[in-house]
């Protein structure tokens, strides 16, 4: 398995291919529906974002509350399609990687090719396993959104699969075809 780091530089992003299994370490951000809406509204109004999107990786997650002494609760990915409307705007501002589960729209894939962005799948429903990779969890903004607040995570060896690469290859299509052609 390939080891990669976040923030994710453009060169590494472009070298990843759909179907690659990787272990991600470094700082990533959490955001989902309401957080994305706020970031895009802020950009529309010409306001500064609370985070630097350059080469950033965003994890679509709404974890369970952390118990005392723990960094985070169960923390698996949520369905990415709901962020499709916002993702291209964030890529334009430097977003380099997205972590979630499920299909993306054609617009998102086009934007990924244009800006050099990668879509990673974390295993949906593996919240307990993924929580073990999270070593730090710092709220950054939108704390009023509860489970949807924008946080910075430090992750170590987070197991991911490249689902859609920056050339537009899609494992959801090729994986199935490979299986059917067997």
């Amino acid at each position: 398995m390939k080891r990669i780091n976040a923030p994710l530089d453009r060169e590494t992003a472009l070298s990843l291919k759909a179907g690659d299994r990787v272990l991600l370490s470094g700082y990533i951000y959490t955001s989902r529906d309401a957080g994305h809406k706020r970031m895009c509204e802020a950009l529309q109004n010409g306001e500064e974002l609370p985070i630097d999107l350059n080469d950033s990786v965003i994890y679509y997650v709404g974890p369970t509350p952390a118990k005392q002494g723990e960094v985070i609760g169960s923390a698996g990915p949520t369905t990415s399609g709901r962020m499709d409307a916002y993702a291209p705007t964030l890529m334009e501002k430097g977003l380099r990687g997205m972590i979630g589960k499920g299909e993306r729209s054609l617009e998102v894939v086009k934007a990924m090719q244009k800006y050099g962005c990668v879509y990673f799948g974390a295993i949906g429903g593996a919240g307990a396993l993924l929580s073990q990779c999270v070593k730090e969890n710092t709220p950054i903004a939108y704390e009023d959104l509860g489970a949807e607040a924008l946080c910075r995570l430090y992750v170590e060896d987070m197991p991911l699969t490249v689902v859609i690469d920056a050339s537009g290859n899609n494992l959801y299509k090729t994986g199935r075809e490979n299986y059917l052609n067997k």
Binding site: A66, T78, K101, G121, A126, G127, A128, Y179
Partner: protein, 280 residues
């Protein structure tokens, strides 16, 4: 007449909410273990291996199996000789859910209005289903339902002339459209018959039945097997990355219907199909 204090209902539901979210039922874990053995693609096997490690970790570290700890679906089968005392039954159910989701560090995923939104902050109200049955006991089932899979569910008012093929085609269409979104491997609940609403309820109830059991009518038991085989031939595979294991179970429930209809509902669930019951 047997009197039951609703406080007992509250306590039981509180515990069931927590346990359902930490421990997967054994029919699900057994099926996952078996699929892991049978899967031959490297990536598919890897993914199933991680899924197995996940439920094992959840159990040993007492972390919710999945972060979507769901809407709390609560089913009460109430014996007709039971008389509840000590307060309001619905309040007791919601008190139980509130306490369980707080104490168990479970995620609060309920909004108070479908359009205007706004998190209720305590995962209430529960989705409460009551049924009056014979006897003086109460069966309480808690089934937290995540929405990644719930959102992929569909219902169709088929015509009687669509026949069995109409049903098969519809179920497979729903699976195709769901693809990777409901965190495959899935569990598929199918309801056939009744009215529009009863049919959907049948599909939901089908998800409560262990997947290592079959429909008591041989015709539908065969259909369960056939559909499972067909679903696993789609190649969607674990997480939609391709493979043999797209579903680990198909459960069908049926009931009588109108001469002019053949409703069919498909309630999709995931490898984190949770339910826990207790009889008091």
């Amino acid at each position: 007449m047997r009197e039951i204090d609703v406080k007992l209902i509250k306590e039981k539901i509180e515990n069931l909410c927590i346990e359902a979210n930490l421990y997967l039922p054994s029919d699900i874990t057994k099926a996952l273990d078996l699929c892991y053995k049978n899967e031959d693609g490297a990536l598919a096997k890897d993914i199933l291996g991680d899924i197995i490690e996940n439920y094992t970790l959840a159990e040993s570290h007492k972390i919710p199996v999945c972060q979507d700890t769901g809407l709390a679906c609560v089913f009460l089968e109430i014996g007709q000789d039971v008389h509840f005392v000590g307060g309001d039954l619905t309040d007791a159910v919601n008190d139980g859910v509130r306490a369980g989701y707080e104490k168990g560090y479970l995620r609060k995923s309920v909004v108070c209005d479908p359009v205007l939104r706004g998190n209720t902050g305590d995962n209430t109200p529960a989705m409460l289903y009551t049924e009056i049955v014979k006897g003086d006991k109460v069966k309480i089932t808690v089934a937290p339902k995540g929405f990644g899979s719930e959102n992929m569910s569909q219902i169709k008012m088929l015509k009687p002339s669509d026949g069995i093929d109409g049903i098969k085609n519809f179920v497979l269409k729903v699976i195709e459209e769901a693809g990777p979104n409901p965190c495959p491997p899935m569990v598929v609940g199918v309801g056939i018959g009744g009215t529009f609403d009863k049919c959907a309820l049948l599909a939901k109830k089908a998800l409560l039945r262990p997947i290592d059991t079959e429909n008591q009518i041989p015709f539908y038991a065969d259909l369960e097997k056939e559909l499972l085989e067909k679903i696993n031939k789609t190649g969607i595979g674990p997480q939609g990355f391709g493979g043999k294991t797209t579903a680990i179970g198909v459960n069908i429930e049926t009931m009588p219907t109108h001469i002019a209809g053949m409703p069919c509902a498909v309630n999709i669930s995931c490898h984190v199909t949770r339910h826990k019951f207790e009889v008091i």
